[in-house]
Amino acid sequence: MENIAELQHVSKLFGGKTAVDDVSFVIPKGSVTAVLGPNGAGKTTVLSMMLGLREPSSGSVRIFGQSPKHVQVKRRIGAMLQEVSVIDGLKVHEVMSLIRSYYPSPLKLSEMVHLAGFTPEELNKRADKLSGGQKRRLGFALALAGDPDLLFFDEPTVGLDAPARRAFWQQADELADQGKTILFSTHYLQEAEDTAHRILLFNKGKIAADGTPDEIVSRLTSKSVSFMADLNGDEAYTAAEMVHRMRSIPGVSDCKEQEGRWVVTADNTDTVLAAIFRYNILARDIRTGQGRLDDAFELMLTHDDHEKEAVS
């Protein structure tokens, strides 16, 4: 499959601080990729290097096999940047016509109007007088003005309400169905999980994980066993003892009491179940569960914070 974008060992330093640290990945044609990560993880920096807005400190960024600054590349990409930017003094339809004129084979004006969902009245408004949501819709239509092959959306749904957010992702899905390659950044885990074929999980400037949403979930989530236990009748099992016993089982990362239930987090739930029977714990209502990506995400971040503490 043809690669639309290739990043090799890309790093970016800002005043001695590493924002992006030795990142490499390829984006195949027709894929929908989510760049996921907390704020300050380097998502926007990676995107701006791919857009040719910033120069990598080291490494190479190639889009369609060329430098992102090449005009041939710019003709084939479209982007919605994080900052809502609108030219002043022009009406909405004038802005659309202006941006259309930059591309060799643009969408029809009527198609752009349809994409943005503007009424004739809105089209005659000054672009800088639009509401935040309307500006987003304009930005979306402008990103598609040149009928691009590769689309960038940087945090596209920040500040949108739920229906607008749904509408946006529905349109993104339609674009993906047309075979367009899409790269978007988000810190909404649900969006990455629902829309992307692939997630690049960024943390502290590095790719922490790269895979399908399912793979990311299974790689990063730990499973848990929860049960009710009556400890009062048996002095051998005080709460402290329970925690100690459970934590000594290989693969168990946590054991705590939550609202009357014991929750044991572990890589393998079977060993936990075996241990419960081995230690003769009077457990009832035993349940096993799998964490969602949100939890995994949380876990990864807290895990990293511990590491940082250990280092410093």
Binding site: G52, L53, S85, V86, D88, E94, L98, Y102, L142
Partner: protein, 245 residues
């Protein structure tokens, strides 16, 4: 080519729709002209020469203002609103963007010149030969280039407030000290010496010569060229430094 035409058209639309342009560049100079030739300075000798002279002062005042203010503040606005960043990901070459900005601005200047000249003609019946009218207009347009460069220099500022404050002060100081509001001969000698080295005085001096039926001296041309060079070098240097992120 289509891009360039579209871009020029858009830049002109944006200027004419700007209420500040209409006020500062058209209304103010005409009102001033009316006041200083009809109400205040009546009854001086050689009224005709004064009326032609002051018409040129007000036209240069108008064009200098819109060159400095519109260009500079626009650029800061586009930068701070993120529009300038957006333009960099479109296939529009930066040069076309810049050229059309300057071209659009110059067309608007030509429009200001025509409007103010007509106002002068209507208010005082200012009488000059066709050659003088055309020559004055051309001088005002061509010699406004250093002020466009000064505008781009102010355009490198980070905040709209700073840029508009600084360019306003620079504009007013240059207009007054350069003798655009009242002839420089009426100033104390220290101010006269300073004033004569300002770009604004030299901008005016060329066209005052034309209005008085003389050819402009070489000196204002050289001084203006020097300022153009200075402003361009500074503006390019600052921009390069900012882009090196």
């Amino acid at each position: 080519m289509k891009m360039l035409l579209m871009q020029c058209k858009v830049e002109m639309l944006r200027i004419i729709r700007n209420p500040y342009y209409v006020f500062w560049s058209l209304l103010m100079p005409i009102v001033f002209y009316f006041i200083f030739t009809k109400i205040v300075n009546t009854g001086i000798d050689n009224a005709e020469a004064w009326q032609a002279h002051y018409l040129m002062s007000m036209t240069t005042f108008s064009v200098m203002g819109s060159a400095i203010m519109t260009v500079g503040i626009r650029m800061v606005q586009e930068q701070s609103l993120g529009w300038a960043v957006y333009m960099r990901i479109t296939p529009l070459p930066g040069s076309v963007y810049f050229i059309s900005k300057m071209f659009g601005q110059t067309v608007m200047h030509a429009f200001s010149v025509i409007v103010i000249f007509i106002a002068g003609f209507l208010i005082n019946g200012v009488h000059m030969s066709i050659g003088q009218w055309v020559g004055s207009g051309l001088w005002i347009l061509v010699a406004s280039i250093p002020f466009l460069a000064l505008g781009t220099l102010f355009g490198t500022m980070k905040r709209v407030d700073t840029a508009s404050g600084v360019s306003n002060i620079a504009y007013m100081l240059m207009a007054v000290l350069g003798g655009m509001w009242m002839p420089i001969d009426s100033f104390p000698s220290v101010l006269q010496t300073i004033g004569k080295w300002l770009p604004s005085y030299n901008y005016g001096s060329g066209v005052w010569s034309i209005a008085a039926g003389k050819a402009p001296d070489l000196k204002p041309m050289l001084i203006l060229a020097g300022y153009l060079f200075l402003f361009m070098v500074l503006s390019i240097y600052i921009r390069k430094k900012q882009e090196a992120v």
